[in-house]
C-alpha cells in the first residue's frame, strides 16, 4: 500500500526485524493455541493439554518440603556484609559456594564418575544464555556449528539470532534409532565446506532433546575423535543429565575425557542448568563448564550480560550442598520420571502407537508416521494440526526439530499431573479408534 510518508521512520537493525526468533513456527504456534484455551481439570476439561513444554513438575513437593524446613536459606537480611564482600565487580565470578555447589551437584548426578572443578564453572542466567554465550566465544559471524537432528527448536534462535552463526544439521534417521554416526558428521562437515562455511564445532544434547535417549559411550568417543581430527570444539548440552530413568545409563562426555586422562580436552565444553532436573526454570540458573582456560576467562567476563542475583545463588547453594537432600531428590526424581514414562509408553502402545526406546528426559519421541497420508513434512503438519484442534493436544512436530523422517512427534509427560496425562492418553486412544473406524468403513 502506497502511503505518502512525510518523515522517514527511524530504522531498526537486522537483528530487531529478523524472524530468527522463530516464534511463528508450529512449535510456538501450538503454545499460543494452548494459551488461548488451556486445559483445566475442573474449569476447562475440554481445553488444550500442553504436551509441548519440557518442564518437570513431578518432584516439586520435595523442593517445597526442603524450603519449608530450611527457612534460613531464604533469610538474606541476616547476612552481614563482611569487609571482604564482593560487589558488582566480582559478580561475574559468581559466589564461590554456589560454584562449588553446582560442581558437587553435577558430580552427584554422574554418580561420582567424573570430577568437576568449581573454578571452571561459569554462571549464566539459564542454559539459553549459556549456549548463546558459548556460540559467541567459539564462532564468528558466518561460521557454523554442526548439530545432529532432530534437535531442540530453540537452538535456531539461541545459537543464531544475535551471533550471526549458522547451524549445519547432521542428519540422523530412524534406520538406526537416530544415532549419530561418523559418516553423518563427515557429510555435514563436507556440506559446510562446499558452501565455504567454516565449521567451528559440534553441539550435542546428551541426553537428547527431543529423542529422550542418552548417547552411547562408543558414540561419544567417535564424536570426540571426529572433533579432534578436525580441530574443532565440542559442546555437550547435558541439561537433562539428572533426568535419566536409571543412574547407570547416562555417560557424560566428562567421563570419557577422564578415562582418556583429559587428553585433547580443551576443545570440550559442557552446558548445564537447573531448570529441567530440579524443575526450577523460573530461577534461571545455567552454567558453562569448560576445560579450556581461555574460554573460561572469556565466558566469565561475558557473563556480565547474564548474571544471577546473589540471593538466588545463595538460596540454591545451601540446597545443593545438602547431600542428603540432593541424593534423595535425584533418586526419587528418577523413579517418578521412569514411572511416568512407562505410563505414557503403555498408554500409547494400547492405542497402537510406538515410540523410540527412551531412557531419559521429560518427553518421549512418538512415531506417527504410519498415520501420514504421504511421508512428507506437509502431511506431518496436517496431522499436527488435527492433533491440536481435534484431539486438543499440543505436541511438537518433528519438522520443527529438523527431523528428516516425517511423522515423529515429541510428547512431554512431566509437566502435568497423572490425571491429566491419563486424560491425554484417553483422547489419543479415542482418536486412534476413530481413525481405525474411518479406515475400515472406507
Amino acid at each position: 500500500m502506497a502511503i505518502e510518508i512525510e518523515k522517514p521512520t527511524v530504522g531498526l537493525s537486522k537483528v530487531a526485524v529478523s524472524d530468527t526468533h522463530g516464534e511463528d513456527s508450529p512449535y510456538f504456534a501450538g503454545w499460543k493455541a494452548y494459551d488461548e484455551d488451556p486445559y483445566d481439570e475442573l474449569c476447562n476439561p475440554s481445553g488444550v493439554i500442553q504436551m509441548g513444554l519440557a518442564e518437570n513438575q513431578v518432584s516439586f513437593d520435595l523442593l517445597e518440603q526442603y524450603l519449608e524446613k530450611h527457612s534460613e536459606a531464604t533469610n538474606w537480611g541476616n547476612r552481614t556484609f563482611g569487609f571482604r564482600d564482593n560487589a558488582l565487580f566480582q559478580d561475574y565470578h559468581g559466589l564461590q559456594t554456589f560454584r562449588k555447589a553446582m560442581a558437587c551437584f553435577m558430580e552427584q548426578i554422574r554418580g561420582g564418575r567424573a570430577k568437576f572443578n568449581p573454578d571452571r564453572v561459569v554462571i549464566t542466567a539459564g542454559a539459553t544464555a549459556a549456549n548463546e554465550l558459548l556460540t559467541f566465544i567459539l564462532a564468528d559471524p558466518g561460521d557454523a556449528l554442526l548439530i545432529p537432528t532432530p534437535y531442540y527448536p530453540g537452538f535456531d534462535r539461541d545459537l543464531r539470532w544475535r551471533t550471526g552463526v549458522k547451524i549445519v544439521p547432521v542428519h540422523c534417521d530412524s534406520s538406526n534409532n537416530f544415532e549419530i554416526t561418523p559418516q553423518a558428521l563427515e557429510a555435514a562437515y563436507n556440506e559446510a565446506e562446499s558452501m565455504n562455511i567454516k565449521v567451528r564445532g559440534v553441539l550435542i544434547t546428551n541426553p537428547s532433546n527431543p529423542l529422550g535417549a542418552t548417547i552411547k559411550r562408543s558414540t561419544l568417543e567417535e564424536i570426540l575423535e571426529f572433533v579432534t581430527s578436525k580441530n574443532i570444539h565440542l559442546v555437550s548440552d547435558e541439561i537433562y543429565s539428572g533426568s535419566t530413568f536409571s543412574g547407570e545409563e547416562f555417560v557424560s562426555v566428562a567421563e570419557v575425557l577422564e578415562a582418556q586422562n583429559y587428553k585433547d580436552s580443551e576443545r570440550v565444553h559442557i552446558v548445564y542448568s537447573l531448570s529441567k532436573d530440579l524443575g526450577l526454570p523460573g530461577f534461571r540458573v545455567g552454567t558453562i563448564y569448560s576445560y579450556n582456560d581461555k574460554v573460561v576467562t572469556t565466558a566469565r567476563r561475558m557473563s556480565s550480560f547474564t548474571l544471577i542475583s546473589s540471593q538466588t545463588q545463595q538460596l540454591l547453594a545451601s540446597m545443593l550442598l545438602d547431600e542428603t537432600f540432593t541424593a534423595n531428590y535425584i533418586k526419587t526424581n528418577r523413579e517418578r520420571l521412569k514411572k511416568r514414562y512407562q505410563m505414557i509408553i503403555d498408554g500409547l502402545r494400547n492405542s497402537g502407537i510406538e515410540c523410540l526406546k527412551g531412557n531419559a528426559g521429560l518427553f518421549c519421541w512418538m512415531n506417527l508416521s504410519p498415520l501420514l497420508e504421504e511421508p512428507t513434512k506437509e502431511s506431518e503438519l496436517i496431522l499436527w494440526k488435527s492433533m491440536l484442534h481435534e484431539v486438543k493436544l499440543n505436541i511438537s512436530p518433528g519438522s520443527s526439530c529438523h527431523c528428516s523422517d516425517p511423522g515423529w512427534f515429541r510428547v512431554c509427560f512431566a509437566n502435568m499431573s497423572e490425571q491429566t496425562l491419563q486424560v491425554a492418553l484417553t483422547r489419543i486412544h479415542d482418536f486412534m479408534d476413530r481413525r481405525k473406524a474411518m479406515k475400515t468403513s472406507n
Binding site: 527511524v10 531498526l12 538474606w76 537480611g77 539461541d158 539470532w161 572433533v227 540471593q311 538466588t312
Partner: protein, 530 residues
C-alpha cells in the same frame, strides 16, 4: 595550552584480524600477476609475521598501542601461545587445517580476552584483593572507583530481615508458582511497581507505562539489547565523552557496533554542544561509519551533570534531523543532589511533538537499591518494534523469579520506598558536599555536578607532564602509594588529561579524612618535584 588526545581514534579492543586485513588486502593488490594471489598473500603474511615477532621481542605494550594480534591474558591462562599467523589468516588460502595447537576461539573472543586490563579494571581488582577496613586492614586500598551505593544499604537490609521469607514464598504462592516458566521480560506485577518506583525517584508525577517495560538482569544487558536492536555490525553510536568505561563493553563487545565519542570540555563544564555532535557525526561519516543513534547518560557518568530542557530539545532536534535514535541512560536519577531540576526524556516526549519511536530510556535498580548482585535493568521504549524484539531478547538475560518476587514485595511497601528515596538522596548530598569540600582543601576542584554519587575532579595540578602519560603516572601513584583507587579520565575517553572520577558511595563519613590525608601525602611529593 591544553593538549587534547585524538578523540576520533576508535577505542581499543578491535580484533587484530581487521588491522591485518587492512594491511594485507592493499598489498595483495600490489603483488598481482602470475601467481599473484598466492604471492600477494604469502609476502604480506610473511612481512606481518616477522613484524609481530619483532614487536613481541621489544616487550610489553600499553593498552593504547595499535591493537597487536591477540595474546592470551598471562595471569589467567596457561595455554601455549598460538602463532598469530593462524588466526589472522583463517580465511585466506593458506589457512592451515587441523593439527596446529588447540581449536581456536572466535576473533571476538580473542579481542575480549586480549583486552589488556586497562587502569579501570586493574584498579577495581586491586581494591577487591586488598580492601580497606578500618579495623582489619587499615592499609588497604580505599575504593573510589566503583559507583555502587552502600550509603543506604542499612535500610534495605533492615527491610529484608523483616520481610524476606514471606515475600518470596508468600501465603498463596508455593514454589511451583515461582519456579514455573514465565515470560522472560519480567512479571507484569514487577513492571507495575518498577514503573511506580521510577516515577517516585524522579520526583515528578511522570507516568511510566508498565507495558512499555522490559526487565533484564542489570543495566548492562539492557544497553546491549538496545544496541543489538538499533544498530547493525559496523554501525556506530555517538557518545559524549567522558563516558563510563563499561559502556565500551556493553555496546561493542558482541554487537560489532562502534562508539564515536563526542568530546566535551571543561571550558563548557563538560556539557554537550550540538556543534561537537555535528562534527562527530560528520567524522563518523568520513570514516564510513553509519551513525544509528546517540547514547547519553543523565545524570551523566562520570561527570554527574544534568541535561536541561534546552539541551534535550536540541538533542531531539538533532536526532530528528539525522533520523537516528536516542538512548537515555537515567540510572542515576535517584541520586540527584543539587539545585537543578532533573528532566527525564520521558517528560520531553510527553509534552513535545517529537517522534517517540526514536527514544529509549534505560534505567536500573542497582544504583538506588544497591544490593550486590541484586540489580535489575529496565528498557523503557516507545517503539513497538523495539519493544517486541527486546522482549524476546530478554530471554538471554532474565531476572530470576525469587528476585522478582522479593522486589515486588519491597517496592510495594510504599512507605518504605518513600522513606528510602528521601533518606538516600539526603545521604548522597551530604557525602557529596563533604567529599568535594575535603578535596578542595587540597586545592583539587571538582566540576559542579548535580547527580550521581561521584565527583569529577581536576587533579592536573598533581601531574608532572600534562599528558595521558602524566595522568596514568598519577593514577599509579594513587593506587600503589596512596592506596586509593580512582578512575582516570583516560579510561573514560576524556580529551583533557588530569581528570579523575572519585566515587564516594562506598565510603562512610569518617573515611573521607583518611582519603584526603592519603592524597595530601602524595600531593606533597608531586608538587615538590614540579
Amino acid at each position: 595550552m591544553k593538549k587534547t588526545r585524538n578523540s576520533t581514534t576508535p577505542t581499543t579492543g578491535g580484533g587484530g584480524a581487521t588491522t591485518a586485513m587492512r594491511v594485507i588486502v592493499p598489498l595483495q593488490g600490489v603483488v598481482q600477476g602470475r601467481g599473484g594471489l598466492f604471492l600477494g598473500s604469502v609476502i604480506p603474511c610473511a612481512l606481518f609475521y616477522f613484524l609481530q615477532l619483532y614487536l613481541k621481542g621489544r616487550g610489553g605494550r600499553k593498552s593504547d598501542d595499535p591493537p597487536a594480534p591477540p595474546e592470551s591474558s598471562p595471569s589467567e591462562t596457561h595455554l601455549p601461545e598460538v602463532s598469530t599467523l593462524h588466526r589472522v589468516h583463517s580465511r585466506l588460502l593458506l589457512s592451515p587445517r587441523g593439527t596446529n595447537g588447540p581449536a581456536q576461539v572466535s576473533s571476538r573472543a580473542n579481542a575480549i580476552s586480549k583486552q589488556v586490563d586497562g587502569p579501570y579494571y586493574v584498579g577495581l581488582k586491586r581494591s577487591v584483593d586488598d580492601p580497606y577496613d578500618e579495623m582489619n586492614n587499615p592499609d588497604g586500598v580505599i575504593q573510589l572507583g566503583m559507583a555502587e551505593n552502600r550509603l543506604s544499604l542499612d535500610m534495605v537490609q533492615e527491610w529484608l530481615a523483616e520481610h524476606t521469607r514471606e515475600s518470596i514464598i508468600c501465603q498463596d504462592l508455593s514454589i511451583s508458582g515461582i519456579a514455573a516458566y514465565q515470560s522472560f521480560d519480567g512479571l507484569m506485577e514487577l513492571k507495575v511497581v518498577v514503573a511506580g518506583f521510577m516515577s517516585q525517584v524522579m520526583e515528578k508525577p511522570q507516568f511510566f507505562n508498565p507495558a512499555q517495560i522490559v526487565l533484564t538482569a542489570g543495566a548492562t544487558p539492557a544497553i546491549e539489547i538496545l544496541s543489538f536492536c538499533l544498530a547493525d555490525p559496523g554501525n556506530a553510536f555517538l557518545v559524549p565523552s567522558p563516558y563510563y568505561p563499561d559502556l565500551d563493553r556493553d555496546v561493542k563487545w558482541r554487537t560489532g557496533v562502534e562508539i564515536v565519542s563526542v568530546p566535551c570540555r571543561s571550558a563548557d563544564n563538560f556539557s554537550l554542544s550540538t556543534t561537537a555532535l555535528d562534527r562527530a557525526f560528520n567524522q563518523a561519516k568520513k570514516r564510513g561509519l553509519k551513525v544509528r543513534g546517540i547514547i547519553i547518560s543523565n545524570p551523566s557518568n562520570p561527570v554527574g551533570i544534568l541535561y536541561n530542557r534546552e539541551m534535550l530539545y536540541s538533542l531531539l532536534d538533532f536526532a530528528t534531523d539525522k533520523n537516528i535514535h536516542i538512548i537515555s541512560n537515567e540510572i542515576f536519577a535517584g541520586s540527584t543532589h543539587g539545585s537543578e531540576e532533573f528532566v527525564s526524556m520521558a517528560e520531553i516526549i510527553d509534552t513535545e511533538d517529537f517522534d517517540r519511536n526514536r527514544v529509549h530510556i534505560v534505567y536500573g535498580l542497582s544504583k538506588d537499591i544497591s544490593l550486590p548482585g541484586f540489580g535489575i535493568g529496565v528498557i523503557y521504549t516507545f517503539n513497538e518494534n523495539v519493544l517486541s524484539a527486546a522482549k524476546k531478547l530478554a530471554r538471554f538475560s532474565p531476572v530470576s523469579s525469587p528476585t522478582q518476587r522479593l522486589l515486588i514485595s519491597m517496592l510495594s511497601h510504599t512507605k518504605f520506598v518513600q522513606r528510602f528515596i528521601k533518606i538516600n538522596r539526603e545521604r548522597v548530598r551530604r557525602m557529596y558536599y563533604l567529599f568535594v569540600g575535603g578535596l578542595k582543601l587540597l586545592g583539587i576542584e571538582c566540576t559542579k555536578s548535580n547527580g550521581g554519587f561521584y565527583c569529577w575532579a581536576d587533579m592536573s595540578c598533581l601531574i608532572r607532564s600534562y599528558s595521558e602519560k602524566g595522568e596514568l603516572e598519577l593514577w599509579e601513584k594513587l593506587l600503589n602509594v596512596a592506596k586509593v583507587n580512582a578512575t582516570p579520565g583516560s579510561s573514560c575517553h576524556c580529551v583533557e588529561p588530569g581528570w579523575f572520577q572519585l566515587c564516594f558511595s562506598t565510603l562512610r563519613e569518617k573515611d573521607i579524612p583518611v582519603v584526603v590525608e592519603r592524597i595530601r601525602k602524595i600531593s606533597e611529593t608531586c608538587i615538590s618535584r614540579s
